[in-house]
Amino acid sequence: MSSNAKKTNPVAQAWLILYNVAMTAGWSVIGIGIVNHFIKHGTNKGLYHQVERQLLFFQTSAILEILHAIVGLVRSNAIFTFLQVFSRVGIVWAVIWPVVEVQDNIGVPMLLIAWTITEIIRYLFYTFILLGITPRFILWLRYTLFIILYPLGVTGETLTIYNSLEPVRESGLYSIRLPNVFNFAVDYHIVLMCTFPIYLIFFPQLYCHMFAQRKKALKGDSSSEKKSN
């Protein structure tokens, strides 16, 4: 978590360093798990199962970042952080985890690779910042790799959601049917379909925003680092 801290509370500092180090380690473990799986099996089948526990744990812990933003521990916009974390946690817990049929689809390794590399660099970067160092190489990685990783991740996510539509429709997962006393119904597969226009609308905006952030950050003035997602 970035902390352009002027008035540094040592306990807060310690906690943030601990958090970012732990997250870096966690995602590295996931990364190693992914590489390991491909070396051993050469296929993405079973990949999710291999890294499931670590993924669930470390992606879900990102919820703490929302708290950090709300409490002001970190100079990030709480709403943006919420949206970012919510979409990740949503995909993991509300799509991949419950819909077993989707776990071996090609979108999963795509999003796993994109998320893992992004997160390792991101948390590593924050750790350094908190320690008072601004390593230009990590800064460069952070603001350059997204050019490939962001579209890769989004493609993986949308493919995964797309592949979940049929199984969800068949099983009626998370769906409420009529008639009932509340006169209310939810068709989860329609909810999932609604995510596509959202991706369509927001992806270009966020992608361009990141290019703008890149320009600012790599201008040689890396102290202007502001959390971009």
Binding site: L178, P179, N180, V181, F182, N183, F184, A185
Partner: protein
Amino acid sequence: MELQILHSKNKSKMCALQRLSSATTVRDIKELFHKQNPKFYPSRQSYRLEPRSKSLKDSDTLGSLDLSSDGVLYFKDLGTQLGWSTVFYFEYAGPLVLYLMFYSRLPFIYGEEYAYKPSSADVVKIAAVCHTVHYAKRLLETKFVHRFSHGTMPIRNLFKNCSYYWTFAAWLAYFINHPLYTLPMYGDVQVDMALGCFIFCELGNLFIHLALKNLRAPGSTERKIPLPTKNPFTLLFALVSCPNYTYEVGAWVSFAVMTQSLVGLLFASVGFMQMAVWALGKHRSYHKEFRQYPRSRKAIIPFIL
């Protein structure tokens, strides 16, 4: 006196205005700028003393702004603007039409089996009337009652607002007019009482709007604290700053109870949250503006908020 107009984004020189005086207002500047740059009509222009400082008011004079003779103003383009009334007409007409489409069960909504065969249930018919009257009332108020202090809003608000109103109206209408609609569990008692509350709240909301309109005579700039009038519906002013919002929330909660619709409740809740924010803001402005503003008043819910 001469003034340079610079663009607030890149400080590039846009134009220079001459023969100004300390009595020239920001409004006058906007007119002059518009003559030189026809694309930027006045309501689209915003000026600041610094590239990122607050927008200046139309009524501010150059003299009051402490600008030296080689003064500089920073320009910002607010984007395409639409009148408030225009936006309101669109955002209210949508729900009115959409709900009736669902009520008449157009074929593409519930399928051919139910096409053009509205429900025979009384409550469903009553709900259609209530919903339609509500939005018809809003359209009429926009035309004849409301007086808007800000002339325009950016065009993206049109899309934002219409998305909200139209989507919710369709979602609400879909379930109430559905062939598998479940009647209210307490039957006629529930429907009649909730309908009574709905009508009461609609009237209340209307009378508050009228009272607010009559608070100031046309042409006058006098600002007054709203107080209860001879109309008993306006007694709510004694308890809250924005009784129009109170009545509005009441109307939608009544509608939700009458139709026993969860989406109705959701709509009432979301509306309440937004109106509470507006009410608190208005309440604060009233306090700031009037020293003797009644302390016992709350913003939107008597005694509570």
